[in-house]
């Protein structure tokens, strides 16, 4: 049984049909690459799964249970973690504060609950070290490089025991060394049985970690096949429309 199953999903923004009648499934410990041209509907798909907005039509089934999320937190509580394309980061806060935003670690002092700064800093430092990222927990995100910001957004997904991690272009702004760290992380997630949906425009990334590739074109799914049965050339042709379907 698939861990997450979307059937007949459509999403319109006024006159724009961002997604039309898409079926899509991910299994436990599977890495699916989601590809498509700019505006193909990839981020829209991520946001639907993550509970940012409901689909205009269609069903989402998680772990055998039909789900309807009204807020992103509800999706997170069900084990769906997301790295958003725009990273969803507050520039005026430190890296550690951003990692723990919305789920701060607290200490009880009498009837009050205060932030546990020390524990959050330590845990964030560990997560950054895991990612081999040169990101210091106490630094303001405002002053950080694109890659360091991305590390902050990725570190967040490691806080809770996730079932699915959605990554919307997690390697867009980072160095070659860090790309391979992120790809390693994705493999480690898979080994723990976590499903990963990876959105990327980088063919080598998709072909080195993904088990399956799904291609969207103008809101329609035009391909869904094991990576072993495809080639970068074919996927490129599918993305551009040179090849209709596969």
């Amino acid at each position: 049984m698939a861990l997450l199953e979307l059937s007949g999903i459509s999403k319109s923004f006024g006159p724009i049909k961002a997604l039309s009648d898409v079926d899509f499934a991910v299994g436990r410990g599977e890495i699916v690459g989601l590809m498509g041209d700019n505006g193909a509907g990839k981020s829209t798909m991520v946001k639907l799964i993550a509970g940012n907005f409901p689909p205009s039509a269609g069903r989402i089934v998680l772990d055998g249970e039909a789900v309807q999320f009204h807020r992103p937190v509800e999706a997170r509580e069900k084990g769906i973690e997301v790295v958003y394309q725009d990273l969803a980061i507050c520039n005026n806060l430190s890296a550690a504060a951003n990692v723990f935003l919305g789920r701060e670690l607290k200490r009880r002092v009498g009837p009050f609950r205060f932030l546990d700064h020390r524990a959050m800093t330590r845990r964030a430092a560990e997560l950054f070290a895991d990612l081999k990222s040169e990101t210091r927990p106490g630094d303001l995100v405002h002053k950080m490089s694109g890659g360091q910001r991305q590390a902050v957004a990725i570190a967040r997904t490691r806080l809770a025991a996730a079932k699915i991690v959605l990554m919307d272009e997690p390697t867009a702004a980072i160095s070659i060394r860090q790309v391979s760290e992120v790809l390693d992380l994705i493999r480690r997630l898979r080994d723990q049985g976590i499903a990963v949906i990876l959105i990327s425009h980088r063919m080598p990334d998709v072909f080195s970690v993904c088990d399956r590739v799904v291609v969207l074109r103008r809101g329609r799914k035009v391909a869904d096949k094991p990576i072993a049965h495809s080639t970068p050339e074919e996927v490129t042709a599918l993305i551009t429309g040179a090849k209709e379907t596969a």
Partner: protein
């Protein structure tokens, strides 16, 4: 244990330490505005014999507390990236309601059992109860106004500027409606107690100053050491991100507008004690001074930055300059102009400093 802010095994040899003026406490507008304040105080004490006298200092402490508690409240709103233009009107309305409640309770027109007669004079049945109820009434109307602001902004999605501009007018109108344009006076057997806790002193310190310091300390702790405080900053930094990461954005927004209204209400009640009355035009256009003080102290109208220390320093700086101009016998018409220059200057210096090498 690793030193906070350092990743074990990851010393970045290309990352030096920031220059001292761009680091820690100095890295904030509040810090150099504090320095500016010290400089202004030194300058004025050299220029005028009368500036550093006990009487004048106490005068300044009293006067800046006129707006300082409201400034703490509005600073919270400004940190979230909002604005509250209704604070001046709320100050007035809370003061009026509290004075009217006291009058009504004292002449027995509501809850007559609160009044007994001692030696042929009316007296409070339970000492302090009339004052407590009157102040609570003033705070209760502030709370309602804050809730209305917060609801319109957070749930109906109206712009904070327009919502609170409307509220400014609505509440000011109500001040005239309920008093028939005359204003009201705190009176009755508990009036002395009311004056003691609003306009009185603890040793050399004005009561309002004591409240201010207490509230500022609580605010500093809450802002920097609780999840709620962190969410207030997150809202101002990136509201969308706050929403996505599970910060209860709507609720926090409503809460800051309520706190701003409560702070303004409390401030208004204190001011009415000091004035001895709550005229319907009290605190007229104070919202401008309050916002100016917050901004001079380092609260960023774009959101995400600000704190109680800055708010207080901004208020003191405004008052010290006003006081200095009075001592120097500069026409009061110039004061307004100068305040405007200081606002622009404070923001300009911040701009130059953060852009610097």
């Amino acid at each position: 244990m690793a030193e906070p802010g350092r990743v074990p095994g990851l010393d970045l040899d290309n990352v030096g330490r920031a220059s001292w003026w761009q680091r820690g406490l100095f890295a904030s507008q509040s810090a150099y505005v504090s320095l500016a304040l010290v400089a202004v105080v030194i300058g004025m004490s050299l220029a005028s014999q009368n500036f550093l006298t006990a009487g004048n200092i106490s005068n300044v402490a009293q006067n800046f507390s006129f707006i300082a508690i409201a400034t703490l409240g509005i600073t919270l709103v400004i940190i979230t990236g909002g604005i509250d233009l209704s604070v001046g009107s709320v100050m007035c309305f809370a003061a009026i309601i509290s004075a009217m409640t006291m009058t009504a309770l004292s002449d027995g027109s509501i809850a007559p059992w609160l009044i007994t007669t001692v030696d042929g004079k009316p007296a409070a049945a339970v000492p302090g109860l009339i004052v407590a109820l009157s102040i609570l009434a003033g705070l209760a109307v502030s709370l309602v106004i804050g809730l209305a602001n917060g609801f319109a902004i957070a749930r109906l999605g109206l712009s904070p500027f327009v919502t609170t501009l409307g509220m400014l007018s609505i509440v000011r109108g109500l001040c005239y409606v309920v008093t028939n344009g005359r204003g009201s006076f705190p009176s009755g057997p508990d009036a002395d107690l009311f004056y003691a806790i609003t306009a009185g002193r603890v040793g050399p310190l004005p009561m309002s100053f004591v409240y201010l310091v207490g509230l500022a300390i609580v605010m500093a702790i809450v802002l920097h050491h609780t999840a709620w405080g962190r969410h207030v900053f997150a809202l101002g930094g990136n509201e969308k991100a706050a929403e996505l990461t599970g910060v209860p954005v709507g609720r926090v927004k409503i809460q800051v507008y309520v706190l701003s209204a409560l702070a303004a209400g409390l401030n208004g009640i204190i001011v009415s004690g000091w004035l001895g009355s709550a005229p319907a035009n009290m605190a007229n256009s104070y919202e401008l001074n309050i916002i100016a003080a917050a901004v001079i102290g380092g609260a960023n109208l774009a959101g995400g930055i600000g704190g109680p220390l800055g708010a207080i320093v901004g208020c003191i700086l405004l008052e010290v300059i006003r006081n200095g101009l009075v001592l120097a016998q500069v026409s009061s018409y110039w004061q307004q102009t100068l305040v405007g220059c200081i606002i622009v200057l404070a923001v300009l210096v911040d701009r130059l400093r953060t852009r610097g090498p």
